[in-house]
């Protein structure tokens, strides 16, 4: 995973709530067996509309997606994170994210930031008024800066550290194989196995 420290980018204002993962990438686009190439499926149904914000020339190159509450509800598909990243997004800002999507995004290095609804509204309004609106996302300071405003966001120290260092969880956990083995040694023998030996 690439390290994430600070990112400066333009905003794509997606003024919708409950952007579920079937909208982010419909199931029919989940058939690839690699981690790349999912950008074609990003918001595939909504993109059929030429007026959809992602299609508007003034927002080309935006890297910070800002949307309404309950972003990423529904399916656990990590493809939703890959589709956003493959398309070029580095940050998503919403008043509230679905748990699984949030977990997937932070694992994969897509920074998801929860900000109060009022701040999100100002950010949406700023980007709608001026598509050149830039946001600075400072993970070190846990701050978002835009249009003269500086707003703090919460992210636990552990998740922040992993993102700043670009660490992957599997490598971290494999440092503790000894305690995993100790736990396994005392698991009840009657617990089910999927293969009979």
């Amino acid at each position: 995973m690439d390290k994430f420290t600070t990112h400066t980018g333009r905003v794509l204002p997606l003024r919708r709530s409950n952007v579920d993962t079937d909208q982010i990438i419909p199931a029919v686009y989940l058939k690839r067996i690699s981690r790349d190439g999912f950008e074609d499926g990003l918001f595939a149904a909504w993109r059929k509309d030429p007026d959809f914000v992602l299609n508007r020339p003034e927002y080309q190159g935006a890297t910070v997606l800002v949307a309404g509450p309950e972003f990423g509800t529904g399916s656990s598909r990590e493809h939703a994170v890959w589709a956003l990243q493959n398309y070029g997004f580095r940050v998503v800002i919403s008043p509230r994210f679905a748990d699984i999507f949030r977990g997937n995004s932070l694992k994969g290095g897509l920074l998801t930031i929860e900000l109060a609804e009022g701040v999100v509204e100002r950010l949406l309004a700023a980007a709608e008024a001026d598509p050149k609106t830039e946001v600075i996302v400072d993970l070190q300071a846990r701050e978002v800066r835009f249009a003269g405003e500086t707003v703090s966001f919460e992210l636990d120290d552990y998740a922040r550290w992993r993102l700043l260092e670009g660490l992957d969880d599997v490598g971290l956990t494999l440092r503790h194989t000894d305690v995993i083995a100790e736990f396994e040694a005392v698991r009840p023998a009657w617990m089910p196995k999927t293969v009979t030996r």
Partner: protein
């Protein structure tokens, strides 16, 4: 209020029994007892293992089945869509290479992953169960802590059999009283989701409890836990009890003899202690519930079937109002229209929510002696090969086909628009599945979530219908008895 830390909830007990490593400032490292996998969310995880030269740590706690992509017709032929076929073949290759047991299409144990685990008895109380699928919450019906994960986490579990996790909050959903005769587990959970909203459960494990829950069968409990994710919750759980133990006894992977006794002793210690404190409590009066359907494009947009399409102008919150306006536009519905007047083109009975034998029985009881109305197609898709075989042994397939419904093979089918079973653009369905998102059942398709009973009654009339509103309601009642 003073909290007695020795009194714990079901979720806390299961969590604490699985902590491998706990260090201040870090997530708990939790042991995973069962890892279910399917073809869609696993290929990149296996690639990750291969790239790093890592094995699957516990293939004997891992189980694969093919469900999302598989066709439900002509299953003896190669999968027609080449991309779907490649994904399914990748799962088979990965399972062979890493020693993971798999039930492929054509196997007697194949089916939807959340139907297969319980029927084999590998889903047991007190376990931690994960799968790269949000409806893993289904397994919570047994008192397991079961939740969906993404592909990075799938790779993590394959490599280590653990997951780093921050503890979830707990919410009690207490359902007291008697469910009316025409109200099912599906109606109950749709009403709960409408109450909580799609984000109300965020960060929580929901524990469904109370006299109305205790009376439910294991399959009905699975329907409820299955849809916990639609309220934003990571997991749903129900305390194990005699109903749970009876369901498990004699299943292929259930313990036997002295092991059974040891298991039951532990399972019996799991229910929430009296006086344990939940972070949030919601109380539902079972007797007030009615058959429930969705009108919008998220599972929280639901109402009793006896109600009318809501008027967005009456919604005070501007965000919710514009969401409702968008939903009605997509659904092509006019405010004030009675929900029972909405006509459908397709009825789908199946999915991990309602594709089990009791679901098929209850729909068949309504369809016996009746026919699917002209112009409506009805798909009946068993959740697993075992469910299909059981239904055929009971003659349910004959009832469905005599009524004019299509009797299909096992799979996720029309729940998610990934295999050949899809709605055409503009088509409207009554569906026993779990999501009414835009395009979920096929691009441009419109979905109303319903119970199996409402699905069957709707197939008869061609509009959203409660069984008790069928003109000849006595037919279903007499054959049901």
């Amino acid at each position: 209020m003073a909290v007695d830390p020795t009194r714990r909830t079901l979720a806390e007990k299961v969590w604490n029994a699985h902590v491998v490593r706990r260090v201040d400032g870090e997530p708990d490292l939790l042991y995973i007892d069962l890892h279910l996998i399917h073809e869609v969310t696993s290929p990149q995880a296996f690639d990750g293992l291969r790239d790093a030269g890592r094995p699957v740590h516990r293939p004997d706690l891992t189980l694969a089945t093919e469900d999302h992509n598989v066709p439900t017709l002509n299953i003896d032929l190669p999968i027609a869509d080449p991309v779907s076929r490649i994904q399914v073949e990748a799962l088979r290759k990965n399972c062979a290479e890493f020693g993971v047991p798999i039930f492929p299409l054509g196997s007697a144990e194949q089916g939807i992953v959340h139907v297969v685990g319980p029927q084999l008895g590998v889903t047991q109380p007190g376990m931690t169960i994960v799968c790269g699928d949000s409806h893993t919450s289904t397994h919570g019906a047994f008192g397991a802590l079961a939740f969906g994960i993404g592909t990075s986490e799938v790779e993590h579990v394959l490599a280590t059999q653990t997951l780093p996790l921050k503890p979830f909050k707990t919410m009690a959903i207490t359902v007291e009283g008697e469910l009316p005769a025409d109200v099912t587990a599906k109606d109950l959970i749709l009403a709960v989701i409408a109450e909580l909203g799609t984000g109300g459960g965020q960060g929580y494990v929901l524990e469904y409890r109370g006299s109305a829950i205790e009376k439910l069968s294991i399959e009905a409990r699975m329907t409820i836990c299955n849809m916990s994710i639609e309220a934003g919750a990571r997991a749903g759980m129900i305390a194990p009890d005699a109903t749970t133990f009876e369901y498990l006894r004699g299943r292929p992977h259930a313990p036997t003899g002295a092991d059974w006794d040891a298991a039951v002793a532990w399972w019996s210690s799991l229910p929430t202690d009296p006086g344990a404190v939940f972070d949030r409590e919601v109380v539902v009066d079972a007797s007030s519930l009615k058959p429930f359907v969705t009108w919008g494009t998220n599972p929280g947009q639901g109402l009793p079937l006896s109600a009318s399409v809501p008027d967005p102008a009456q919604i005070a919150d501007p965000g919710e109002r514009s969401a409702a306006e968008r939903a009605l536009e997509y659904m092509d519905l006019v405010p004030g229209t009675p929900l029972s007047q909405i006509r459908v083109d397709t009825v789908f009975l199946g999915s991990c929510t309602n594709g089990r034998i009791e679901d098929l029985r209850s729909a068949a009881a309504i369809l016996r002696g009746r026919t699917v109305v002209d112009g409506v197609r009805m798909l009946v898709v068993p959740g697993s090969v075992r469910v299909r075989l059981q239904a055929e042994a009971e003659g349910l397939d004959q009832i469905f086909t005599a009524a004019g419904a299509e009797w299909r093979h096992a799979g996720c089918s029309m729940c998610l628009g990934m295999n050949p079973d899809q709605l055409a653009p503009g088509e409207r369905s009554a569906s026993t599945s779990n999501r009414n998102f835009e395009g979920r059942q096929g691009k441009g398709g419109r979905t109303h979530l319903v119970s199996p009973q409402v699905a069957a009654a709707t197939a008869v009339t061609g509009r959203l219908t409660s069984p008790s509103d069928l003109p000849d309601a006595a037919i279903g009642a007499s054959t049901n008895a």
